[in-house]
């Protein structure tokens, strides 16, 4: 197929068409909504794989599969798509997770009918926006997807979640919207720092600008606040546990697993890529916040008695690692952070979706309501353990490689912070294993109704996730091949090189170029 084929547009159009089709299904066919939605998400996945095969890791251009069309020339806005290795792997992850989530959400809306149609239509439309936000190479277009994405998530949480869904939905929306609006000021101001004109918002026209440092700091701040809310980092993380606990598990998975990655992705793409000096200037504060997130998230996870909240706190801790890796600004820490985004997506999906299987069987999200479940549901216990191991970064599973790289990569520059962050590793073992112990071990529970072990549908849900843990753990090379050039490009734009290994004593200053 020729190179001008609009792969990325297609990746958005297919799920959008699917969403419209599902939403417009006549009442008589409403019970087919989930099958159709699953079909469309699988087609999208196949197309994503097709797109990924066109991608050449050795290419010299920053973005591939590019499409550029005029959109609002009077604002300087183009419809411009393109991916580098990081964006492509995030899109691929979204495309894999969406069918998994749809399958996991099979019985989320038992009453069926109108509501069920909407539920799956919203999920498909979310997929389209997720592709768009990662593929946008126009800053304005990115902002449009960044904000527009909030609406389907808002309805997914607010209409279909648990008892506290309204509060959680509105909190989620307000945090994200406020962060996004602050970013809007920076987006506008950035345009006027660039070449302006009818394509002034294209990334390529805004990269490498010779900005004065004060301006850069302010612009950086606008972007960073939005991404810090999204990621989320301490102290603007409070919406996440509420949202994840109130949402359905599938929504929570997409929210934490994919959407929050927009925050860390944005830090790499925009904060580092567009404002290198400001990023260096802010590094100490950002790293301090990241370390606080790691430790704070871990403590909160240890203290949680709610499965869903516990898992979302582990994510806050893990996002701390990712941000730390990004701002350590070494190639290995950067590669670790970029791959961690992928591994964390699958890990979180595993934890949320398997926990949801337990919650559905027990009818409660409180950990204290469980105990001894490995005796009655051994297979669920098994997949729960594997997901947990991935969460605590067991060697042999994908997240180990990434976490290890983040710590070793950042040690050459920020010794103290790297040492403290490794405490987070120990704490992750505590919260995961202690959760497993409280849920799975102990005397056999006496339940009113007997529960089934892993069903066939649930096996299909967890199989791709576990496969991804193991694949990325033993053979992460394709992933690294994809992200490494992108990471190196960002760091070279930022003008930093790795500290020389032979002189570790001066490496901590981070001053050498």
């Amino acid at each position: 197929m020729d190179t001008t084929f609009p792969w990325l547009t297609l990746l958005m159009v297919v799920p959008l068409v699917g969403a419209l089709l599902v939403a417009a299904l006549p009442a008589a066919m409403a019970d087919r909504a989930k099958q159709i939605a699953l079909g469309f998400s699988l087609v999208t996945l196949a197309l994503t794989v097709g797109a990924a095969l066109q991608f050449k890791a050795s290419s010299l251009s920053q973005f591939q599969l590019t499409e550029v069309h005029e959109w609002i020339p009077s604002f300087g806005v183009s419809y411009a798509l393109g991916v580098d290795g990081i964006a492509l792997s995030l899109i691929l992850m979204s495309a894999i997770l969406t069918p998994v989530c749809i399958l996991a959400a099979w019985h989320d809306v038992p009453e069926g009918g109108h509501r069920e149609k909407n539920y799956f239509a919203l999920m498909l439309s979310l997929l389209a926006f997720m592709v768009g936000v990662f593929a946008a190479t126009d800053v304005f277009l990115f902002y449009v997807f960044f904000e527009a994405m909030l609406i389907p998530v808002y309805f997914l949480i607010g209409s279909f979640g648990g008892p506290r869904r309204q509060y959680a939905a509105i909190k989620f929306l307000l945090f994200s919207l406020a962060g996004g609006l602050v970013m809007l000021v920076s987006v506008i101001a950035l345009y006027f720092q660039g070449p302006k004109g009818s394509t002034g918002f294209l990334m390529q026209n805004l990269t490498g600008l010779n900005l004065d440092v004060t301006t850069q700091k302010w612009l950086w701040l606008g972007f960073f606040i939005a991404f810090a809310v999204k990621a989320p980092m301490w102290p603007v993380h409070t919406w996440l546990p509420d949202a994840a606990a109130a949402a359905t598990p599938a929504t929570a998975t997409l929210l934490v697993g994919v959407l929050d990655k927009v925050g860390t992705y944005g830090m790499i793409r925009f904060c580092l890529g567009l404002f290198p000096q400001a990023s260096e200037w802010a590094t100490p504060v950002v790293i301090a916040l990241a370390i606080v997130s790691i430790i704070y998230g871990a403590f909160c996870a240890i203290g949680s008695n709610d499965l869903m909240r516990l898992i979302s706190y582990t994510s806050i801790s893990h996002f701390g690692f990712i941000v730390f890796g990004i701002f350590a600004m070494t190639t290995s820490a950067g590669a670790g952070a970029a791959t961690y985004m992928i591994n964390h997506g699958f890990t979180t999906a595993g934890l949320f979706l398997v926990a949801a299987m337990l919650v559905r069987r027990r009818g409660s999200t409180r950990i204290s309501d469980f105990g001894g479940w490995q005796k009655i549901t051994p297979a669920v216990a098994g997949v729960f353990l594997i997901s947990g191991m991935s969460g605590l970064a067991l060697p042999g599973l994908g997240s180990f490689v990434s976490e290890f790289l983040v710590i070793t990569g950042s040690y050459s520059r920020y010794k103290g912070a790297a040492v403290i962050s490794s405490v987070g590793l120990v704490m992750s073992a505590i919260y995961i294993l202690w959760m497993y112990k409280r849920v799975m071990t102990g005397p056999t529970p006496t339940l009113v109704e007997p529960v089934k072990d892993l069903t066939m549908r649930e096996k299909f849900v967890v199989a791709p996730l576990i496969a991804s843990f193991i694949f990325l753990g033993f053979y992460p090379k394709p992933l690294f091949d994809a992200v490494n050039p992108a990471v190196q490009r960002v760091l070279s734009v930022a003008g930093v090189s790795d500290p020389a290994p032979a002189t570790p004593f001066i490496a901590t200053t981070g001053g050498e170029k």
Partner: protein, 516 residues
């Protein structure tokens, strides 16, 4: 010195004349046509007049730009764009005002405005199936005034336009069929405060005339640039008073006190008309005054207007949080929007002009549709409008289409991307950042923070409609074909201006050059 007749470029002002003609014809129809056919004749005349004016504007007036009527009126890009916008918005408003539902005349208006509320006379009029057809000519008169307003090239023409806009609106405000006392109270308040602000405007005009020796904006501008006359002290007070008069019309803080009461009391279709068209026309006048007339000494008064813009955004958005009545809520939201638009005005750049014009159009479309929806949502028992926000609980379940459209409009007001609200905000904020200096950036930051506050308000409404259980005592009446077309057009345009704003933005961009 003999009297010399001014030359008139008739094609240039033809759209205004057509609308005036339609209005006068409407007055005759009201006097002579049979009661049973008045409503349809009036509606037809209004629609034909507005469409014809729009056609002439696009086909002919566009090519006849320049000053005319002895320099009193100038037909240039901004004037044409805003006249066109007023015609489109006015047409949609009139189509919604004409909604009859099941009554004999337009449903929103009392059958007899002169009757005392609750009196026998009123009852008799109702039972006889009378209708208030004069709302159509009144609306047309007001629309004609709104067309002159942004085209006025001197202070007196602007004042006359201001009055032609306002007087019919005072009457329209007082003609609500239900809650008539509230409506009449609103009309009186509007009238009193409106006359007060008109007086300010006139007084300011006199002072500026005293300073410059002319009421023409071009000559005022020259006088300011030339500097130093013996009446220097008159200029700034004059500018302040004139601006007070205009800022009153757009509902800027601290001249906003009338807005919530009037928006609540007026019939909903009239409220939508006021919110959309008055605001648009008044911003047109502000643009002309500020950019053509008094730009030369902007450093003297800029800070004051910036303070007004900041206050308007903050007060409008913060107070909208506490509102429990739908129409008052949208009134405060309209105040906040006026602040956002003012931010664009203060860019002092061509891009600012086009941004303001685009914003006013986009906001007008959404707000007309929103008030159109409010007019449809009724209490099941007595047919009064269900304006308490509590009554909108669960509307998403009982009336998915109505609630869906309203939710979309709320997202537009909130400025979510892919809606016209976002494009408009961008169009107004971007020039403020680019050319407004530090003050402009500060205003934009206040603007986005206030947007976040208003977003909370709108989202809370969506929560009510979709996530709360309703009591089932509210129904949405089905609108007629005419009103449905108007609503659909407004909603489609709101999305269109969000997804594909290019053509209209280009048009506004091309039309942003004033003729001095």
């Amino acid at each position: 010195m003999g009297f010399q007749a001014v030359s008139v470029n008739y094609w240039a002002v033809m759209p205004i004349l057509i609308v005036f003609g339609g209005a006068l014809l409407g007055v005759l129809v009201e006097a002579f046509a049979a009661r049973s056919v008045r409503h349809s004749i009036q509606l037809s005349i209004s629609v034909v007049a507005l469409v014809a004016a729009l056609v002439v504007l696009v086909m002919k007036s566009r090519h006849d730009q320049g000053t005319t009527l002895g320099g009193a009126v100038v037909i240039d890009g901004p004037a044409l764009f805003q006249m066109g916008s007023v015609l489109v918005l006015g047409l949609l408003s009139v189509m919604l005002m004409a909604e009859k539902f099941s009554s004999a005349g337009a449903d929103a208006f009392t059958p007899m405005g002169a009757a005392v509320p609750g009196s026998d006379l009123e009852r008799t009029a109702t039972n006889a199936g009378w209708g208030t057809g004069e709302v159509f000519p009144l609306a047309l008169f007001s629309i004609a005034g709104m067309m002159i307003f942004p085209a006025a090239n001197d202070l007196l023409t602007m004042f006359v336009a201001l009055e032609v806009v306002s007087l019919p609106l005072y009457i329209l405000t007082g003609l609500a069929r239900r809650k008539r006392l509230l409506s009449q109270e609103a009309a009186l308040k509007y009238f009193l405060l409106g006359s007060f602000s008109s007086a300010f405007f006139l007084f300011g005009s006199a002072l500026i005339y005293g300073y410059a020796g002319s009421i023409h904006f071009g000559e005022v501008s020259q006088a300011i640039s030339a500097g130093q006359t013996q009446f220097d002290g008159l200029l700034l007070p004059g500018i302040v008073f004139v601006l007070v008069g205009l800022l009153f019309k757009v509902g800027a803080v601290p001249f906003h006190a009338w807005t919530p009461d009037v928006y609540q009391g007026a019939p909903s279709a009239v409220t939508g008309f006021m919110a959309a068209c008055t605001k648009l026309a008044a911003f047109g006048a502000i643009l002309r005054l500020v950019y053509v007339g008094i730009e030369a000494n902007r450093l003297d008064w800029r800070l004051g207007v910036m303070a007004v813009a900041a206050l308007t955004m903050v007060v409008g958005s913060v107070l909208s949080v506490a509102q429990t009545d739908m129409k008052r809520l949208l009134a405060y939201s309209s105040i906040a929007h006026a602040g956002f638009i003012l931010t664009g005005v203060l860019a002092f750049d061509k891009a600012g002009v086009s941004g303001v014009m685009f914003y006013a159009l986009a906001y007008g479309l959404a707000t007309i549709a929103a008030f159109g929806i409010i007019a449809m949502v009724r209490q099941a028992d007595d047919g009064a409008e269900a304006t308490s926000v509590r009554q909108w609980d669960g509307l998403g379940k009982s009336h998915p289409v109505v609630a869906g459209i309203f939710a979309l409009l709320l997202l537009t007001f909130a400025g979510i991307p892919l809606t016209s609200g976002f494009t408009a905000k961008f169009a107004a904020f971007a020039p403020a950042v680019a050319t407004g200096g530090k003050g402009g950036v500060l205003l934009v930051i206040i603007g986005v923070l206030c947007s976040a506050i208003t977003a909370y308000v709108y989202v809370k409404l969506i929560v009510r409609m979709y996530f709360e259980e309703g009591k089932g005592d509210v129904v949405a009446w089905t609108p007629s074909v005419v009103a449905t077309i108007a609503l659909a057009a407004a909603v489609i345009a709101s999305i269109g201006l969000g997804v594909m704003p290019g053509p209209v933005l280009d048009l506004a961009g091309q039309a942003s050059q004033f003729i001095r």
